[in-house]
């Protein structure tokens, strides 16, 4: 057992972990971050995606110790109900969430992607969520919502 520290959604997290424990397991079981979903535990579905130092990863394939000293962002770090991220607003308004179990992973993948590429094409948005499986929506409204959020984010950029 070893104690690690990292930033979870902007706040300091301190937790004792075994070397073999996955980031997914520690987030869900030891840090009550149940917004991170577990769909396959082998990197196939993307439901457990989190943003680790700016990059979307499958937390089931990362060891908890790899998060030490780094920053982890889950869907709850994107913005709360009082100040939602434009992605979250667009997902609600455009009906992009059905059962919703893939949505936390979907949103953090899109969040990391739009941070890097706010002017992405529709096809690039589809590629960005190629590792996030959704069984309900057919992805159409998810891509619509991502585009709407991207437009909003671009409109907020300071003019150079």
């Amino acid at each position: 057992m070893r104690t690690i520290e990292f930033t979870l959604n902007g706040e300091r997290a301190r937790v004792s972990v075994e070397p073999h424990e996955t980031l997914l397991g520690v987030l869900r079981q030891k840090l009550a971050a149940t917004e991170v979903k577990s769909g396959c535990e082998r990197g196939d579905c993307g439901a457990c995606a989190v943003v680790l130092n700016g990059k979307a990863i499958n937390s089931c394939l990362a060891l908890a110790v790899q998060a030490a000293g780094r920053s982890v962002v889950t869907v709850r770090g994107l913005g709360g109900a009082d100040h939602p991220h434009p992605l979250q607003t667009a997902f609600i308004e455009l009906g992009a969430a059905q059962c919703g179990i893939c949505i936390p992973g979907m949103l953090v993948s899109l969040y990391a992607f739009l941070e890097a590429q706010p002017r992405a094409t529709r096809q690039e948005v589809r590629e960005a969520i190629g590792g996030n499986l959704c069984r309900c929506t057919g992805y159409h409204k998810i891509v619509d919502a991502a585009e709407a959020a991207a437009r909003h984010l671009v409109s907020l950029e300071p003019r150079s």
Partner: protein
């Protein structure tokens, strides 16, 4: 009882793209699904599963497992009070012989499929439970297995049930097919095969159970059917009132959480240990455990006259039930009633048989036995049109059933039948044809139309109930036992109530899915919730509305006809009218002893059991009609098929939430693309070789195009304001439309799903060699 409805001149919120109340918690990660829940002292459970598809259990030795530190309980079949589960449809009131289907809770004596549950373990930690599972020593004596449904029909095959492998037969007889085929100028005969398919919801089967303060075994589980509390009670030998099931919002169902999954295992372990217990399947376990979509073998023979009218149809359906019946007999009934498609055919002979094998058990899956025959009959329509030199759309139009006409099973189509319109609209929505993206690429287009039942079989006497209440603060509460599996089941009820009471959605709370505290609403299956529970809520809210209007009229001293309810206020029509808030109205109701709440039961129109000899009779309350059209590009070198465009048109009667309707159609089409091109649970001699999402492929965002959806609203469905169900119908025409587009592109008729690159390449190659 008449259906609720009538047409107000315009709607306030019905039909709008209203944001769903459940969406907020979903996008903020606040929603606690079945496995996002824990209790103090909770044990972790695991299931010990058979590693042989057909074997006798010589010995199940649990001693070493029990000795693992932290293990609190190991249970085998001998520890189960009543080790039998019946797959009857909840609410079933008519005893129908072939529908009685049994499974054992834990395998006793023999296992019939790989993955069958043999023992349960509960331990302080998940690791201890996993260690114990590995230490349960099972000694098997392999038995001969049967893995091919046609072989299983032979009397020489190993018999899985003492009564034989055939678990149900259904038939339809109309006219005389021999006469019909004599009159036919063209006959098209083909055998079609569909695969074993996994529901592949992203949330695996999961739940937490505990003993509550009243001694009631309470199970908070991912389920489409909270009425399984009865099954758990029957297994435990307890009164039904001693088991309660709560369904939180579910992470996808599609029929895979319709039969019992974790409920009974959790119930047994809570009963045995008196501790809270958690059980969540791994993905591999989810794929190995029941249930799946039935593979069908479908032998079709159609006859048509030179003028393009259908003359005769002969069909034989064989469904592989796997190791246990589950809902296979019912699924097959849906299969035979839908087998002729939405067409007028004078002479019809349909036979269906469902047979046990040692393959994974099959049961409910979106389409419920109607998706498989749609692949066959719509491929046949395409082949017939081409054989007659007719346009596939024109050929279909000539033969489509109209309102007032009857299915082969004799059921009259009593509501709008917009087959021609939905088909034409879907086809034209494809727009101009694309050019191939390069050499060796071929573009093709295909079409498919379908009818799909919604609502429960009429002789099962379906009903739903709901409670709507005005709170003292002027907000509104709905209670109904609906499990929400992601289709917006709860949101639609809020929207209906908002419309009728004139209260904003934000002012309405909805409590769903609790078998003890919400009025039972029946299962979230059979595309029935909007129809059934929508109607129950419509009725309850309408009754409450009448009370509030009467109370307001009294307070405002006007005739009730002059009272309007809007924005949480009752007012008198006209400029500068008097008004009273709902909060004041609630207090006034309390003073005048008027109920502030209304409980309503909606009973679906019931009917007599069909004639089993002829298959004639009314089976379903109503149908949803629709069509899909696709454009594909086929790579001649690799056999790869890419769906470039997909257009769908359905008559949904009345859209309640336009986003949710489109969402069902887009998601259904995506599932249909998976069915057509990707998905197959591969089973070799009873062993599933695709036990994860790396080998069992469902569509990604890169496999699905944008879907063009055209919504028609005839207003003639059976639900609120004439709504029809759309959940299941949305995936039914996709696979045949794609197969027909592949034929259009490369001239090869693919009769087996999925159309993988290898299968298509081989078929193209064989066609060239010929």
């Amino acid at each position: 009882m008449s259906k609720p409805g009538g047409h107000p001149p315009r709607f306030r919120i019905v039909g709008e793209r209203a944001p769903r109340p459940d969406a907020r918690d979903k996008v903020h990660g606040l929603l606690r699904y079945a496995d996002d829940f824990a209790l103090v002292g909770m044990l972790h459970a695991k299931v010990v599963r058979a590693t042989r598809p057909s074997a006798r259990l010589v010995k199940v030795d649990t001693r070493r497992a029990e000795a693992v530190p932290g293990v609190r309980c190991v249970m085998t079949a001998h520890d189960v009070p009543n080790n039998v589960l019946f797959s009857d449809v909840p609410g079933q009131t008519t005893a129908v012989g072939p529908l009685r289907a049994r499974t054992q809770v834990l395998a006793d004596d023999v296992v019939r499929y790989l993955g069958e549950a043999v023992a349960l373990v509960a331990a302080d930690t998940e690791e201890a439970a996993e260690a114990a599972v590995r230490l349960v020593a099972i000694e098997y004596e392999d038995l001969p297995g049967v893995f091919d449904p046609e072989a299983a029909l032979s009397p020489d095959a190993p018999q899985i049930e003492p009564t034989g492998n055939v678990i149900s037969r259904w038939k339809i007889r109309k006219g005389d097919v021999e006469t019909g085929f004599r009159e036919a100028d063209v006959v098209v005969e083909e055998t079609y095969r569909t695969p074993l398919v996994d529901h592949a919801f992203i949330e695996p089967e999961a739940g937490v159970g505990w003993l509550d303060e009243n001694g009631v075994i309470t199970l908070r589980v991912a389920t489409q059917v909270i009425e399984h509390f009865r099954d758990v009670a029957n297994v435990l030998g307890l009164p039904h009132s001693k088991v309660r099931i709560i369904a939180p919002y579910i992470g996808g169902g599609f029929g895979g959480k319709e039969d019992v999954t974790v409920e009974v295992f959790l119930g047994l372990l809570v009963w045995k240990t008196t501790r809270p217990v958690r059980l969540c399947y791994s993905r591999e376990e989810s794929i190995l455990s029941p249930t799946k979509r039935h593979p069908f073998i479908m032998k079709y023979k159609h006859g048509a006259k030179r003028d393009g009218t259908l003359a005769a149809l002969e069909v034989e359906l064989i469904s592989d039930a796997g190791g246990y019946a589950y809902l296979s007999p019912l699924t097959l009934l849906y299969g035979i009633v839908h087998a002729a498609g939405p067409y007028r055919i004078p002479h019809v002979k349909i036979d269906g048989v469902s047979v046990l094998t040692n393959n994974p058990p099959t049961s409910a899956f979106r389409g419920f036995g109607s998706a498989q025959p749609a692949f066959a009959y719509e491929s046949q329509m395409d082949a017939l049109a081409r054989a007659l030199g007719m346009d596939p759309l024109a050929f279909r139009e000539r033969n489509f059933l109209h309102k007032g006409e009857r299915l082969a099973s004799g059921q009259e189509l009593e509501t709008a039948v917009l087959l021609a319109e939905t088909t034409r609209r879907a086809w034209s929505a494809l727009g101009p044809k694309r050019q191939p993206s390069g050499p060796g690429k071929r573009i093709g287009r295909g079409l498919a139309s379908a009818l799909t039942a919604y609502g429960r079989i009429v002789w099962l006497h379906d009903w739903s109930s709901a409670w709507v209440e005005l709170q003292m603060d002027g907000t509104v509460l709905i209670r109904t036992g609906v499990p929400d599996i992601g289709g917006g089941q709860a949101a639609s009820l809020v929207q209906i109530t908002s419309e009728l009471l004139g209260v904003a959605q934000e002012e309405i709370a909805v409590h769903i899915g609790d078998s003890a505290l919400t009025p039972l609403a029946g299962t979230t299956t059979a595309t029935r919730q909007l129809y059934m529970s929508g109607s129950a809520v419509h009725k309850a809210a309408s009754e409450l509305r009448a009370t509030l209007v009467a109370q307001a009229a009294e307070l405002l001293n006007v005739a009730p006809e002059l009272v309007e309810l809007a924005d949480g206020i009752a007012s008198v029509s006209g400029p500068a009218g008097k008004q009273v808030s709902f909060k004041e109205l609630a207090a006034a109701c309390a003073r005048s002893h008027r109920p502030r709440s209304s409980f309503a039961i909606y009973q679906a129109p019931a009917g007599q059991v069909m004639d089993f000899e002829t298959g004639q009779g009314k089976v379903f309350p109503d149908f949803t009609f629709g069509a899909q059209a696709v454009e594909v590009e086929v790579d001649e070198d690799t056999g790869e098929v890419e769906v470039l465009r997909l257009a769908a048109c359905y008559d949904v009667g009345q859209a309640i939430n336009r986003n949710s309707v489109e969402g069902q159609i887009e998601g259904g089409a995506a599932m249909g693309i998976g069915y057509a091109l990707l998905e197959e649970d591969k089973v070799a001699a009873g062993i599933t070789v695709t036990p994860n999402l790396m080998t069992y492929l469902i569509p990604t965002a890169l496999d699905v195009p944008d879907v063009t959806t055209v919504i028609l609203e005839s207003g003639e469905g059976m639900g609120p304001w004439g709504a029809r169900g759309i959940g299941e119908p949305a995936m039914v025409p996709t696979a045949p439309a794609i197969a027909n587009a592949v034929f259009d592109a490369v001239g090869v008729r693919m009769t087996r799903l999925p159309i993988t690159p290898e299968r298509l390449w081989r078929a193209m190659h064989a066609a060239k060699v010929d």
